[in-house]
Amino acid sequence: MTYYEEELRRIKAAVFGNQGQIDTVIGVRNYIDRNYENELSLELLSRARFVSKFHLIRLFKRYYGITPRQYLIDRRIAKSKKHLESGMSVTETCFAVGFKSLGSFSMLFKAKTGKSPFEFQKEQLSRSMVIHES
């Protein structure tokens, strides 16, 4: 057995011993993956899992390193890039990925990617035109 395999074994026992908690956070992540385009309710989820909402958030952060909200935003921004690349309008995109206001969508998009959704789309579309012409 290599040094790395021994370390894996040690870390697994020390850090990842609680399979129940791990199953819970994986369940939360899958729930976000399935529902991020719609209304999302952590309250509903925590009730289904018999744990408090705050405990759920703490557990998620412990195992994934980010909060469920941060993960949800990343998911939505990633999907919105796909929509914008395919030519969907900024307003349509905003609601299609589950945001409720154009203002907060634009602000988050700019914070995460460095460009506003409008700028991003203009760049992507002009890029694909260049490719088609060449």
């Binding site: 290599t2 040094y3 790395y4 395999e5 894996l8 870390i11 697994k12 850090v15 990842f16 791990i22 956070v25 994986i26 992540r29 195992y63 994934y64």
Partner: protein
Amino acid sequence: MRVTLISIPVLDQEKALQFYTEKLGFIKKKDAPLDGGNRWITLVSKEAQDGPELLLEPAPLHFEPSKVFQDALMEAGIPWTQFDVDNVDSEYKRLTDLGVEFSVKPAEMGTVRFAVFNDTCGNNIQIVQTL
């Protein structure tokens, strides 16, 4: 400042280029000649061609401490670099069919499924799927 490049030390750039493009499926983005037969070779993922570039860095060939460090990591089985995949098990099957050797078979730890293979250029590489 932006993160756009990560380096991977390789003993033989040409051999690495073949392994990383033909077996792993990366795409060559830049290839420019440098001094002494070295090249500036960068690769990108097929799915993110405007994403970060992977530099095939020939340091182990010219800078002894780099070689010593690389050999020690290899000996200990430690992967210094990891890549994300959608499905570890299907990548494991695809790569073993191509003759790639794994030192850690697909296994789970916490919220990830992972495996470790030998890139034939002196490195252990870890592939990871987040569960």
